[in-house]
Amino acid sequence: MSQINRVKGGLIDRSTPMNFTFNGKSMQGFAGDTLASALLANGQRLVGRSFKYHRPRGIFSAGSEEPNALVQLRSGAHQEPNTRATVAELFDGLTATSQNHRGSLEFDLMALTDYASPFLSAGFYYKTFMWPKALWEKFYEPVIRSSAGLGRLSMDEDPDIYDKGFLHCDLLVIGAGPSGISAALAAGRSGARVILADEDFAPGGRLNAETLEVDGMSGADWATQALAELAAMDNVQIMTRTTIYGSYDHGVYGALERCTDHLASSNGKPRQILWRIYSKRAVLAAGSTERPIAFGNNDRPGVMLAGAVRTYVNRFGATPGQQVAVFTNNDDGWRTAADLAAKGVNVTAIIDSRDKPAVCDVPGARHIRNAAVRDTAGRKGLKSVTLTDDQIIDCDCLAVSGGWNPNVHLTCHQRGRPEWRDDISAFVPGGTLPVGMAVAGAANGALTLGAALAEGRAIANQQIKDLGFTASRKAAPKAEDEAFECSPMWHVGESIKRAWLDLQNDVTVKDVKLSHREGFRSVELLKRYTTLGMATDQGKTANIPALAVMAECTGKTIPETGTTIFRPPYTPVPLGALGGRARGHDFRPTRLTPSHEWAKANGASFVTVGNWMRAEWYTRPGEKGWRDSVDREALNTRTNVGICDVTTLGKIDVQGKDAAEFLNKVYSNAFAKLAVGKVRYGLMLREDGICYDDGTTARMSENHFVMTTTTANAVLVFRRLEFARQCLWPNMDVHLISTTDGWAQFAVAGPKSRDLLRKIVDEDTDLSNEGFPFMGCAEVTVCGGTPARLFRISFSGELAFEIAVPARFGNSMMEVLNKAGEEFGAAPYGTEALGVMRIEKGHVTANELNGQTTAQNIGLGMMVSQKKECIGNVLSQRPEMVGDDLRLMGFRPVDHSLDVIAGSHFITKGDEANMANDQGWMTSTAWSPNLGHSIGLGFIKRGNERIGEVVRAVSPVHGKEMEVEIVSAHFIDPEGERLRG
């Protein structure tokens, strides 16, 4: 096929041909074409199928409002479903395929549904498919699902990369049509920081599509000249291929820039950038969208918006048909006829619904007054139209104009409600606009060129004056105001055949009437019942005519009937762009411990703990599974000495004259009198009396404490402490700063830990039990003068220390500790062995402190002081919390060969396993290499009174249950002799 529909002129570059394929068919277009204009140039009228009835569809519009011409662009992993051909910029090598049909586009098997359409009226599916019940999921729904949907995802990972960014400006001008350019010129000349954004690749808006003149030159030339002036200004940024898709609070706008969609390949650069634009003021100059008129069979390929026909002829040098008729209710439609005729296209008739003389002279065209189209013929492409007086007019394209709707979309994003203007029969921006936004030009109802240019300048000047800039005195560009008188007509009542309102979702005038009859009369109910306006075009061309039909049914006016507001995004935004760089491993930052490199080199495997990566165990040669490694590490720590990187625990430096008193308020237990050089375990409650976090806090000097938090709560505790400091006790001299990342901290645990540390800690520190007793702390030096902090604390229950050095020495410290410990059998241990040992010792972690636990539950009720002011103590005394008798206990399987299951629930022996008999649950389990059997911690009702009782531990989700004995949670060294040794 050759470009049979090319006409002279246009803004395409005929010296740069571009080859592309549609459904495998090779075609050629030119640089500056869209896929739609190139398809039309090649005479391809049928481009897709409708959603419900699979009706043949062609190109309907020339912009982002397109309901019909959705294609799949590119192939393989790059396949992009539901792409509007009308905004897809043509590039050499483009491939496109039609979508939503079974069999070929020409012979779609699903088109049979069209014959069943009487049974498929709006909402039919709510009334049937209910019997037999089981068939819904098994049959009806799968059939509906596979025939619904539009395009297909490739199911492969999106191969492109995306980026995001942030821009700031004084004035954001949305739309680079006549009013937008005029606004940007005015603001730019004043010196304000301006961003001018337009969704098109060629700025100019309708100026590129019309034959109108500005300042005595062609509109397109004027636009080019104005943009050159703007481009030369340092304070102006022009963003083409950029859609402002949403208006958010306080002048923030979402913008999507398509960087490489017009290229065959992205070449490793971001395909699109999602910008967040912070503006002090904005001018919405988004233009207007033409609306159709509904009549019988108005959905055939070849029935198009009149303004779009003009766009194809004037801008793209491609005529949608050889024999064009125009159907209009307004003066603007006449310009389509005139422009077509000027390009030598045969205009057969101008059908004007009004009883009005010819607006202009169109050679060769019949002017039919006071008439309307009621039907069309031509299944896969228009052949003729039938008028209300039954005369038939042959044509292969019908240009329809029902008037223009201002593009108010962004004014609604913050729930502003448009207002009706009778003089132009359209909604204009109304209600409360987004803060800082003003509207200019056609978007504001100024539907003629001269008015739009003047308004753009005036509105921009007003906006920048508000910001303190002085407006430039330069006059507004001048243009004539073209005729635009319009006499509303929404649908042709004489139509017998279905008349489409929402082309994509196949909603017809009859559907709206049915919706009214069945009581779905509010616009919102209409939308939801018929799916009107819910398609990918969000009803840009459908909503207002449908509203008019509903108004007719109810006997109310259109504004009384209501309006649907538009929600973001203005046009659909790829999820890839919204995701930006946050994919795969880059989804969130990764935090590494200081000894990560050493661990990697020494057999560690890593586990994700929040954003941290921690060594979970270190595999030694010969170990067959993780259990081998974990058992060895835990046993070795209890027999020799183990080393574990515990840097991830939160560390907060607390300083100030009131630091001790402050800590006394945020911990539930007493802290005011902690001696210098001592560490204490602290329990923090939430204000509602539930356990929040626990950790140790060391008093390094009179006014200086070092607090540790759990890994998970480090940030949250810090936030809470700042709240207490600033909001609750604002006159305390206390200061907080996080040092979590600053200190590499290692647990050195086991009977030989002291021996090992003696080789590391410089000799002036006395490490003997007397010199450095349990719960002691000190600032020391290690390895010949490196500053360090030493704490005698134990999570494992063994004689243990934690030693911290500046993080830069962490990796080296891990290596040194292991090397120096060789003679004592030192070995590193990971989080799994840590977990085993803490369960053996009955220490709680997040599995127990899950935000639902009271201090009593974990046996620490005595740690909640009622003798001082502290967070959480008052509400912890509420009756049903005090009455909660769950207690943390140890559990061991009666049959030692069984592994207890975390998450199993406890049922008293002899009781049925149901919710009423639920006695508690197992929180944590481990295989204890020291005891030689599996052990667990868990909460059970009245646990402290039930030691020795055997209960059932049931896990129906595993289909398992076993008997377990209730024991003390301290499986090892319950008296704590080891850690004090």
């Binding site: 709510y126 539009l150 994003h413 990918t536 995004p569 995701g579």
Partner: protein, 416 residues
Amino acid sequence: MRYSGFRVLREGLTGNKGWKAAWREPDPKPEYDIIIIGAGGHGLATAYYLSKEFGMRNIAVLEKGWLGGGNIGRNTTIIRSNYLLPGNEPFYEMSMKLWENLEQDTNYNSMVSQRSILNLIHTDGQRDAFVRRANAMFLAGADAELADEAQLRRELPFLNFDNARFPIKGGLYQRRGGTARHDAVAWGYARGADSRGVDIIQNCEVTGIDIENGRVRGVQTVRGPIRANKVAMCVAGSSGRVAAMAGMRLPIESHVLQAFVSEGLKPVLPGVITFGAGHFYVSQSDKGGLVFGGDLDGYNSYAQRGNLPVVEDVVEGGMALMPMIGRARLLRSWGGVMDMSMDGSPFIDKTETEGLYFNGGWCYGGFKATPASGFCYAHLLAKGESHPVAREMRLDRFKLGHLIDEKGMGNQPNLH
């Protein structure tokens, strides 16, 4: 008028001229036995069950806008009963059982689709917690299934297993979970209630609650006063505003939750998937759109719209979980106002004013609760006492210290 496939055929052959209105548009009577404020899903369900199960007919449902216009009309349509705590799980399981018979019960196809819901597991600790939950579900008579990574790789090969920041270690399925066509749920209940004589009165905003000597006497509306000795508030999203008319302060904050739908796509997702490591959940509607959501915006709001950081955060989660959706496009986003309660669980209770009842605090989980909420509220209104499965949903539970805190977030509504 009974709906059936036969009826659709017959009407189709006669030009679809015989369909009757799904409900009347009655004027309010001067007095009713019960006034329900709010014709959202829960209010309509309450009216439906009152009329059908408890034999009460003299009921008005007053709606300030259009019926079904509350959060039943703007949610992500998920149904499930995968709760943990005894205060919640039996209630949601009752709801699930009502869902399973809803269409036959209401003679309205609300497209209840038990396509399954999957909560992904990313850590060992999470697995322990999910096992506890799964077993609690079993103990309450619900279904649950643990899946390991290998099974998920087979069933959902498009998830990001190999390059994930937070590895997928398995998941908790509830196969009976799934989705329903949210608007149709409201319409089915409305039609069923209307046909039993309930007056659903749209565009009838309540402007005051009449209380005399600690007893409710009726309401003031934009269409005049209406008397009733029982008034039932059912206006999640506006609870604070309506309760204030009765001088009540509620343990509830109003927050905005955004939801999203993509352009239509041929079937991609079999069921509902919840990605806990990234605040993202998704399903695919029968029309083909990916319906997804994530966290609250996080600040008190009645504005029914949210902001960009959360939009991006949610989609980042989606792209991290299933990077094959990159070339699908976000079609529409919207915001609903949630009654966020102080422990994340709802209220179905009497108030201190005799005859005045309260149903609210549904957080973002109200949709799946619709049938049981309606049933239990009807039970309370008709019998004067709580239904056994809703017994813990009391208003005074915070005073007493009886928390139903599924997530363990404490008295911080935006974290539930």
